[in-house]
């Protein structure tokens, strides 16, 4: 009975690992963003899907890019910092200020994503979930509260339509 209930319950979050990664995300974020503690953080990722046709074989490739996403409700700013699933480092931050962006909305189809157009020429699609188990592709962090707070911020303060 115990075994079956465990099987049906599905995978469980390793909270210690998740907390450690949350701290590392904060360290990385604060390292590159001024006044980083004024931002709340969530893990997100981008998906770059491209089709290929090499004659004999054709199909599609998906590239996943890990992101540390910070948001400040007072200034209406989202900061995106590229990183890697093992959190060994990060790139330069990109700032998306509500007053400066072209448009922002939440996409539901084909995938659930937060879309931000900084200008007319390009956009970023941020995917975020409360927990993703695959550590080779995503940062291992459980974030249901952060996801709820970010979604609320995006939908009530940041989106433009």
């Amino acid at each position: 009975m115990g075994l079956f209930s465990k099987l049906f319950k599905g995978p469980e979050v390793d909270q210690a690992k998740s907390d450690a990664n949350r701290e590392t995300m904060r360290t990385l974020f604060n390292q590159v963003v001024d006044d980083g503690d004024s931002y709340r953080l969530i893990f997100g990722y981008t998906e770059d899907v491209s089709r290929f046709n090499y004659g004999l074989v054709h199909g599609s490739k998906t590239k996943i890019g890990s992101l540390i996403v910070g948001w400040n409700e007072d200034s209406g700013t989202i900061v995106v910092v590229p990183t890697v699933p093992d959190l060994s480092g990060c790139g330069d931050p990109v700032y998306y200020r509500r007053s400066e962006i072209h448009k922002a909305y939440r996409n539901k189809y084909p995938t659930d994503a937060f879309i931000i157009y900084p200008d007319r020429n390009g956009y970023i699609g941020i995917h975020a979930y409360d927990w993703l188990e695959d550590e080779s592709l995503y940062v291992y962090v459980s974030q249901p509260e952060e996801l709820s707070a970010f979604t609320h911020f995006f939908m009530t303060q940041f989106k433009t339509k």
Binding site: T27, Y54, G55, L56, P82, L87, C90, G91, D92
Partner: protein, 62 residues
Amino acid sequence: MLWGEIGAVLLVLATLFIAGHLWFHIVEGVLAGLKRLVFSRQQPPAWHPLPPDGDDAPKKEP
């Protein structure tokens, strides 16, 4: 005889599968090489490694 035909079909499928994979990786390798050649002059994006922990950080001599 039937088993021989099934085996032959499986062999053909396996050969096609392996050839497809080989072809995919060859083309990907060539494309990656071309990209490296074309974009070699561009500076790589800035990268900030995770600072070492307090315990692991190299200690300064007094």
